[in-house]
């Protein structure tokens, strides 16, 4: 999956993965994809819900060992 930017949120506890995701998304243009790496298990449901409420598209989600990876396309 092509991503415009990668955000490393590993080791960060809630709410930081989403706070950082939101900031990083601000720098992207519509249609660009942010790739996020996180280790906080809560990030899974929260990122999906956050993306939905902002109209962004959670394109893909993967688990690589303890690392949760997300690809979100900006609305």
């Amino acid at each position: 999956m092509e991503s415009t930017k990668v955000l490393d949120a590993k080791g960060l506890a809630c709410p930081m993965p989403i706070v950082k995701t939101k900031k990083a998304m601000n720098d992207l243009a519509s249609g660009e994809v942010l790739e996020i790496h996180a280790t906080d298990k809560g990030a899974k449901n929260d990122l999906a819900a956050w993306a939905k409420s902002g109209g962004h598209e959670l394109v893909k989600h993967e688990e690589d060992g303890d690392v949760l990876k997300f690809w979100i396309k900006k609305a």
Binding site: C14, P15, M16, K22, G42, N45, D46, W50
Partner: protein, 375 residues
């Protein structure tokens, strides 16, 4: 304005004392819908923290100023953030220390009664998850029934009463929470008892708990008599303590009865459940005080926070004990059941000793309500 931490014990007191509290839950909507802090006079608002990153101005008018406000999230971090934002906006609020994770693990000991010759019986109310454990103490010795995995609480409590833990029982193989029974037995040298019919796949040594077993603690004063009462599981066993209390495990609750499906054998066990509730239990004294292993709703708590009711009263009032038609009973306990407890298969395997998840994983497996009953 300052941001205060409120701990689970303080929130539990508010539940027991039927106080008001405004619970501002900032977890996502599905987590809130699944499971939340319950109190009779609690009011709720759920807005996920990630909707509030730009500020709380827009929602200030939804936060009351005439009652205590508690901001709640899964593990504390987000609730601190939101509480600080509210504080900067001039509101006096608290956050829940440790979040729902701590709420799920909090146990509140409540004395349920005196036993013969100075003995005492305590109920440990796991308020967030609805699990109930018991400790009978007599003359320097203690027995524990259905301990949760927060074993230090039981060990410290027994120590504070100068009692040595001699026996640890599980009424059945639990599917909603991880038992602390085996760990307590290992730490104290106590005997660990489990019904053999529930233990066919366990990977450890245990004492076979069968109907008719009698155990005494404190010399010969307190008698704990086991009563085979299958239905929730095939091995489910109840206890009559001091000829006064009926520890009913997950067979009979205050306002509901045990569900027979959590090991995948509802059709096989429904007849056992019927027999236990409509025959075996009916032969017992109406005066026995039923002390179950769970509560489902906050209305089941007594004034002092304990959960218990006379067997005779339950025969009159509990709907599950008053379904005369056997086919109707069968339908109610096997069809349209509520969702199963979170990770119930993994929890059963952990309690059998087949799986050994780390503490973080154990916490995650136990998230949510117990869901062991059918109404």
């Amino acid at each position: 304005m300052t941001v205060k931490a409120m701990n689970s014990s303080e929130v539990t007191k508010k539940v027991f004392n039927k106080e008001k509290l405004f619970v501002f839950d900032v977890r996502n909507e599905s987590d809130f819908a699944d499971w939340k802090i319950e109190g009779e006079y609690f009011q709720y608002l759920n807005i996920p923290y990630f909707e509030l990153l730009d500020g709380v101005e827009d929602i200030l008018d939804q936060i009351p100023t005439d009652m205590d406000v508690l901001v709640v999230c899964a593990k504390e971090g987000s609730s601190v953030m939101v509480a600080e934002m509210l504080s900067e906006a001039g509101r006096d609020v608290a956050y829940l220390e440790g979040g729902m994770k701590s709420w799920s693990e909090h146990l509140e000991p409540v004395k349920v009664g005196d036993l013969k010759d100075g003995g005492e019986l305590y109920q440990f109310v796991r308020i967030g998850k609805g699990c109930l454990s018991y400790m009978a103490i007599s003359d320097g010795e203690a027995a524990i029934v259905d301990a949760t995995r927060m074993t230090d609480i039981f060990l410290d409590f027994a120590a504070s009463k100068n009692a040595e833990i001699k026996h640890v029982f599980d009424t059945h193989l639990h599917a909603d929470h991880i038992s602390g029974g085996r760990k307590i037995a290992e730490k104290t040298g106590a005997a660990y008892w489990l019904p053999p019919k529930d233990a066919t796949e366990v990977t450890f040594e245990y004492n076979a708990l069968e109907g008719g077993n009698d155990v005494t603690i404190g010399g010969t004063t307190i008698n704990i008599h086991s009563l085979y009462s299958p239905g929730h599981t095939i091995g489910s066993t109840s206890f009559v303590v001091d000829e006064k209390y009926l520890l009913s495990g997950d067979i009979l609750f205050i306002d509901s009865i045990g569900r027979p499906d959590l090991a995948g054998l509802a059709e096989d066990w429904v007849g056992d459940l019927r027999e236990t509730l409509y025959k075996r239990y009916r032969e017992l004294s109406d005066e026995l005080v039923v002390l179950p292993a769970h509560f489902m709703i906050i209305d089941e708590l007594n004034e002092d926070g304990s959960v218990g009711e006379k067997l005779g009263t339950l025969f009159a009032k509990n709907h599950g004990l008053n379904i005369q038609d056997e086919n109707e009973f069968r339908k109610i306990v096997t069809e349209n059941l509520p969702p199963q407890p979170n990770a119930y298969q993994e929890i059963r395997e952990t309690n059998m000793g087949k799986a050994n998840p780390d503490i973080e994983k154990q916490r995650e497996m136990e998230i949510g309500p117990n869901r062991c009953a059918v109404r």
